[in-house]
């Protein structure tokens, strides 16, 4: 059981790293989702996997039976999922807003906060959505 989960974690991390090395921020975010789920599975697997023994006290008994799953890693994973979901929602909104404002999701073109030189700045200015009337006016001159 552990081996299968370990392989799954490995596959998730590999896919995540591949996506996160991309220049597109959207792909990066998808990679982030994969790797955060891999981290959740790490907690789950490292906490010990117990098959078919839910941590419940049977009716009428005072304590759970001797062999039950550890509920704590599950609680940790649940907390991590909720937090991760919130952060991801924020990140998605941020990327969408960046796309509408700056007009790109290519991380190489995001140089507004750290301009390299004038050439790079002008490249960004060109990629911004330009008003359409500008071109014909120029042609008329």
């Amino acid at each position: 059981m552990e081996q299968i989960v370990a392989l799954l974690i490995g596959a998730l991390v590999a896919g995540a790293v591949y996506l996160m090395l991309s220049r597109s921020i959207v792909r990066f975010l998808l990679g982030l989702v994969l790797i955060s789920n891999a981290a959740n599975l790490v907690i789950f697997a490292a906490g010990g996997l117990t098959l078919g023994a839910p941590p419940l006290v049977p009716e009428g008994a005072e304590a759970p039976p001797a062999l039950v799953a550890n509920a704590l890693p599950q609680a940790l994973v649940l907390t991590a999922i909720v937090i991760g979901f919130g952060l991801f929602a924020f990140a998605l909104a941020l990327v969408y807003r960046t796309y509408t404002e700056i007009g790109t999701t290519d991380s190489d073109e995001l140089r507004l906060a750290e301009p390299v030189d004038d050439k790079a700045m002008s490249k960004i200015l060109v990629t911004e959505p330009q008003p359409r009337v500008a071109e014909p006016l120029k042609a008329a001159e």
Partner: protein, 512 residues
């Protein structure tokens, strides 16, 4: 005893709720100031309790440790909470003059208070998973503050900040999972007892490195600091001041806590890595600053460079070096937040933070020039200001440990810091304004002027006080370093005296 530990976390949260409900009214800013003042009182009470009783611990919900969430305050935690409260109060007052109505409506004050709650929570928790939760509280509110207003630069910087911090968070979470798998506990005091007893110490070192990368990213050490200079110069000035003062220091605090309390088994490996990291952090930070031509960008790179000194103190791992690290933490929060506040006033007077486009501040606003000189010289390490003593202790410790290269690096970095500070001085203060403007302080409305200048002056006075009377602060740092290097009282307070291994108990009983 637990209420005294919980109030520094509860006060900012309650203030945040009140400030959010009244976000359309001018009262919100004042609520934020009042909350920060209350926090200062609460943190003072906590500090006096810790000074009187030593380490104090409280079990939340009265679940006994290590099953419930424990809040612990030793001297380091207590002083970090006090300094957080001081910074929060200064920035809350500054925000009254700095933050505009639109930002207030979007919930600036509420986000700010939640950020402070996250910071104090991270300093006070004694549970690793709870630390993760406080990191997230801090992170999500800092995301909000960073992009508040939504200019293009902010969005650009925000993307980098969010992306890299989320990666760090995931590493932290994986480290927690692996550590729990090995020990079955996440209570830090309990970890301090169980981790040395593990058979597979090699695996412990691997997990320690995961934590080092995760916390190192938060602390902005080399080579994990790239998110910081990409984003810290973009938000409102009060936001970047509180970020610069507090956020990276939470990472440094977490490193100090984990690498003195839990991961102290293989010091020869982990702390040697930290040593190299510290050296490269100092040098790359200061060289990055030398290449910049913007007030806030220079200061951002200097955060990185100064973090190196604190990590150097931790990495040397001698009593004197830890004293230096603690002293440096306290000094740096005050000085760095103050420099960012000054940059805000300078920008307001001259119209920009780009050094090529501003000037004339010395001639027309000499008082601001003095208020800049004090923290700037303190940052560079001029006697008799606080930075001199902080650098002196760290350099002395590295000379004692015969780390010649690092001692030399620390001194050279100090000299290069002067280069950056004189660059700001020459460009922003000495040379005339390129447009011929005369940026006098009187051009700011009286109300705003008081709110902007008062916190800067107060923090500058504090820098001078630490610099002129360093004795009590160094003594305090010595006591704190003693506690950090001998965690037995920390462990005994959290878990009860029975939790210590046999010889530790015998040693504790032998103590007067």
């Amino acid at each position: 005893m637990s209420w005294i530990l919980a109030t520094p976390i509860a006060i900012p949260f309650l203030t945040a709720v009140a400030a959010y409900l009244l976000r359309d009214k001018p009262a919100a800013g004042w609520i934020s100031v009042a909350g920060a003042a209350l926090l200062l009182v609460a943190s003072g009470a906590l500090m006096s309790a810790v000074l009187a009783d030593g380490v104090i611990a409280g079990q939340m919900g009265t679940w006994p440790a290590p099953f419930g969430i424990t809040l612990v305050a030793d001297l380091l935690s207590a002083v970090m909470v006090v300094i957080t409260a001081i910074t929060a109060l200064a920035v809350a007052v500054y925000a009254l003059g700095d933050v505009n109505a639109a930002q207030e409506r979007m919930g600036y004050h509420a986000l700010f208070q939640v950020l402070i709650a996250g910071v104090t929570g991270a300093f006070l928790t004694g549970d690793l998973f709870n630390l993760y939760v406080w990191f997230e509280v801090m992170l999500i509110s800092s995301f909000g503050l960073l992009v508040l207003g939504g200019t293009k630069e902010q969005l650009d910087g925000g993307i980098k900040y969010v992306a890299l911090n989320l990666v760090s968070t995931i590493l932290f979470l994986s480290g927690i999972g692996l550590l729990y798998g090995m020990t079955g506990t996440l209570n830090m005091a309990d970890l301090a007892v169980t981790v040395p007893e593990l058979e597979n110490q090699g695996l412990v070192t691997v997990v320690a490195m995961i934590f080092m990368i995760a916390f190192g990213m938060k602390a902005a050490v080399f080579p994990l600091f790239f998110w910081l200079p990409a984003s810290y110069h973009t938000p409102a000035f009060s936001v970047s001041a509180v970020f610069a003062g507090l956020l990276t220091k939470v990472g440094v605090y977490a490193l100090i806590r984990m690498f003195t309390l839990v991961f102290n088994g293989d010091v020869g490996y982990t702390h040697t890595v930290l040593l190299w990291v510290a050296g490269f952090t100092m040098v790359t930070g200061v060289l990055g600053a030398a290449a910049q031509q913007d007030f806030r960008k220079i200061l951002s790179f200097h955060i990185v460079s100064q973090i190196g000194y604190m990590i150097l103190g931790l990495a040397l791992f001698t009593p004197l070096a830890i004293v230096g690290a603690v002293f440096y933490l306290v000094h740096h929060i005050i000085v760095k937040a103050n420099l960012f506040l000054v940059s805000g006033v300078a920008s307001r007077l001259t119209g920009s933070t780009e050094l090529g486009r501003i000037g004339g501040l010395y001639a027309s606003a000499p008082f601001l020039a003095i208020l800049f000189l004090i923290p700037a010289f303190s940052l560079a390490g001029f006697p008799p200001l606080s930075g001199f003593w902080a650098k002196y202790v760290v350099v002395k410790a590295s000379l004692d440990a015969e780390a010649w290269i690092l001692a030399a690096a620390a001194l050279v970095v100090g000299a290069l810091t002067i280069y950056s500070m004189t660059k700001i001085w020459a460009e922003a203060f000495w040379k005339p304004h390129p447009d011929g403007r005369l940026p006098a302080l009187s051009s700011i409305p009286v109300r705003d002027r008081a709110f902007l200048i008062a916190p800067i002056a107060a923090l500058a006075v504090l820098t001078c006080v630490i610099g002129l009377a360093p004795e009590p602060f160094v003594q305090f740092a010595e006591r704190s370093a003693e506690q950090l290097l001998d965690p037995s009282s920390y462990v005994a307070t959290v878990l009860g005296p029975d939790a210590l291994p046999g010889e530790e108990v015998a040693r504790m009983e032998g103590m007067p």
